[in-house]
């Protein structure tokens, strides 16, 4: 049992956790933008799947990973465009449209996989790129700075998202549209344009999340390979209370506990595997209960507005 606390295990848990957190970060930060502007997108998983396929297929056929990345972003953005049109112009109920787009992405990615590839293939994904100097730091270097480029990108996205949302005019517009669209509108902010922007951005980032799986971390594509990961990403936005740093905390917590339970099984800690697999889900809820009871959540709860008028 003492080996539980050995350096190998701790470094192992942290390194795995960082990798596992990557797709959640892209998708959840993207979703944060959308929700901050007032749009709930439950279709993240579908966007990720189509993005993952596009990235994989293009990288597989052209042998150019960057083109794959671009393809994932374009496909994600197009899915976002569809979502934006349906929710902004047609005022469709958001949650349900998201489920529709999820199903579309789930089915379409598998269909294309069958038609264009036919069987599971592999690509040489983005290699591990140690950061010069930083990767030489003992322990920390190994955990944080010996990853692939899309992992770094995911973590860099957090301060960028925080900066955009809190320190720029664009961020102010996004927040005001999500907070009080009528007021924003009367101040000359185009609610529709802002929402188009955030939803398309969200789609693009979801596409990247898919790409981070199919051409960087796993280097394969398989039907439903995200396995509901996009829904967890949406949940993490709530965990983070619509703040980039909060989302980071949620993604890291969930992923670290997940990698911890993998280690628990490897170390033969005698609990049934199913119970171990449950841990990240249970702990995420418990941590949220524990923290929220101390920090009071926003008091302006569920103040709906009718965008129709």
């Amino acid at each position: 049992m003492t080996e539980v606390f050995s350096a190998t295990v701790i470094i192992g848990i942290l390194t795995s956790g960082i990798r596992l957190a990557t797709p959640y970060l892209y998708a959840a930060i993207g979703e944060t933008f959308g929700q901050r502007s007032g749009v709930l997108n439950l279709g993240v998983d579908g966007q990720m799947l189509l993005g993952a396929f596009a990235a994989f297929y293009v990288a597989f056929t052209t042998e150019n990973l960057w083109l794959g990345l671009l393809a994932a972003m374009i496909v994600g953005a197009l899915m976002g465009l569809g979502m934006a049109y349906v929710t902004v112009n047609l005022h469709a109920e958001q949650g349900i449209s998201g489920i529709g787009f999820y199903l579309f992405g789930l089915g379409m990615s598998e269909l294309l996989f069958k038609m264009l590839l036919g069987t599971v293939e592999t690509v040489k994904g983005f290699p591990i790129t140690p950061v010069p100097l930083l990767s030489k730091i003992p322990v920390i270097g190994e955990i944080f700075f010996q990853q692939n480029i899309l992992v770094y990108g995911a973590f860099l996205l957090v301060p960028i998202a925080w900066f955009i949302l809190n320190k720029t005019t664009l961020g102010l517009k996004i927040r005001s549209v999500g907070e009080n669209p009528e007021a924003a509108d009367s101040l000359g902010v185009s609610v529709a344009r802002v929402r188009y922007f955030t939803i398309i951005l969200g789609g693009t980032l979801s596409g990247l999340a898919g790409a981070s799986m199919s051409i960087a971390l796993l280097n394969v594509f398989q039907q439903n390979m995200t396995s509901g990961l996009g829904f967890i990403a949406v949940a993490l936005v709530y965990f983070g209370a619509w703040r980039a740093w909060g989302v980071l905390a949620g993604a890291l917590l969930f992923s670290m506990v997940n990698s911890m339970q993998l280690w628990m099984q490897v170390l033969n800690i005698p609990i049934p595997s199913d119970i171990a697999v449950m841990l990240p889900y249970i702990l995420t809820i418990i941590v949220l209960v524990a923290t929220v009871s101390r920090v009071r959540a926003p008091s302006a709860l569920t103040k709906p507005f009718d965008r129709g008028h």
Binding site: L50, L78, T122, M225, S227, Q265
Partner: protein
């Protein structure tokens, strides 16, 4: 305004479809891939009609594909589509959808309906009595419910698992082996039990770490489990079910060896895959077809084993297996066949 919106919706949806289809290749390329000779054979004598219902996809490199490939092989043997018609329903993970499919195929006069998943048993038990002229088969199990139009089939997954375990333990230098599985039940649990037994019989000091990830689809968690094994010192990995495709890549990246099961996974990582236990159901299918031809529609149960050739050890030609290890593997196969090795599964 209304009409305009409707139009935009249509165009948008089309654009989505096409853009998605487009990806990089034009959709026309796709068309040639789907064989469409069905009309041609309609005129000929009535072929033997087989329908199969599978939980995952015909290209899963695992359980479903193993049966579909076997069917195609049998079809080839019998003289192609003129002699045998195959239709399939894949992705039937919802049990009552599968039940509807089974009933539907039976009522359309298919000669043999294969319900390829142990979760379909209850439905089959319900449906089979209504179609005494139709032959049903299901697996993996040996339970025919004592009905004379149900065949059952099963794979002794622990046998090849044992052989894989023997090779794995012989090749491991660190003395640590990692296993990635879905949930600890059924075929997967059987394979893993055999694998552990084989490894421990070869090297009593070996450590076999097993990770059950609780899902048949979570590719990301399966490959992170493989990463965990590598970090814990494993230099040989194995895994079962369709979500391990990512784990094979992890093995390759880290120079760890990989052992496959159900179908050959060599194509995923030709440098590190050592051996696969491949299911060849055609052994069982041939016997069923022979019985059906004689007018017996069921009542028999088949187990594919190393002995009857239903389980095959498929070695990757690209990996140079040391001769003594190959000899040990062959000895294990021989021992299992002649009964001198009994793989413990309890």
């Amino acid at each position: 305004m209304n009409k305009k919106n409707l139009l935009v919706v249509l165009v948008l949806a089309l654009a989505l479809v096409l853009s998605a289809c487009g990806g990089a290749a034009a959709p026309e390329e796709v068309m040639e891939e789907k064989p469409m000779e069905e009309e041609a054979m309609d005129e000929m004598a009535e072929p033997f009609k087989v329908a199969i219902i599978m939980p995952s996809s015909i290209t899963d490199l695992a359980f479903s594909q193993s049966m579909f490939d076997a069917l195609l092989a049998v079809q080839e043997e019998m003289g192609g589509e003129k002699a045998m018609e195959i239709v399939y329903s894949e992705g039937m993970f919802v049990v009552d959808d599968a039940a509807a499919a089974i009933r539907d195929y039976a009522s359309e006069g298919f000669n043999l309906v294969i319900a390829h998943g142990s979760q379909y048993g209850s439905s089959l038990q319900e449906i089979a009595p209504d179609f005494p002229e139709t032959s049903f088969a299901w697996g993996t199990t040996l339970n025919t419910f004592d009905m004379d139009n149900i065949f059952a089939y099963e794979a002794d997954a622990h046998e090849g698992g044992y052989v894989n375990g023997v090779i794995a333990a012989s090749l491991s230098e660190t003395g640590v082996i990692g296993v990635v599985g879905p949930i600890e039940a059924g075929d997967a649990a059987l394979y893993v039990k055999g694998f552990v037994a084989g490894a421990e019989a070869t090297n009593p000091d070996i450590t076999v770490n097993v990770n059950w990830i609780g899902s048949f689809s979570d590719v990301a968690l399966a490959s992170e489990a493989a990463n965990t094994h590598v970090a814990a010192g494993a230099d040989v990995l194995t895994g079962t079910a369709q979500m391990v495709v990512g784990a094979v890549g992890v093995a390759e990246e880290n120079g760890a060896l990989w052992f496959g099961t159900q179908a050959s996974q060599t194509s995923l990582a030709p440098d590190v895959v050592v051996a696969n236990q491949v299911y060849d159901w055609s052994v069982a299918l041939d016997e069923m077809l022979a019985l059906i031809a004689e007018g017996t529609y069921g009542g028999e149960a088949y187990t594919i084993t190393l002995e009857n050739g239903g389980l095959l050890m498929d070695y990757n030609g690209g990996y140079e297996l040391p001769e003594d290890v190959k000899a040990a593997a062959d000895a294990a196969v021989a021992g299992i066949i002649d009964g001198s090795i009994v793989v413990p599964v309890e």
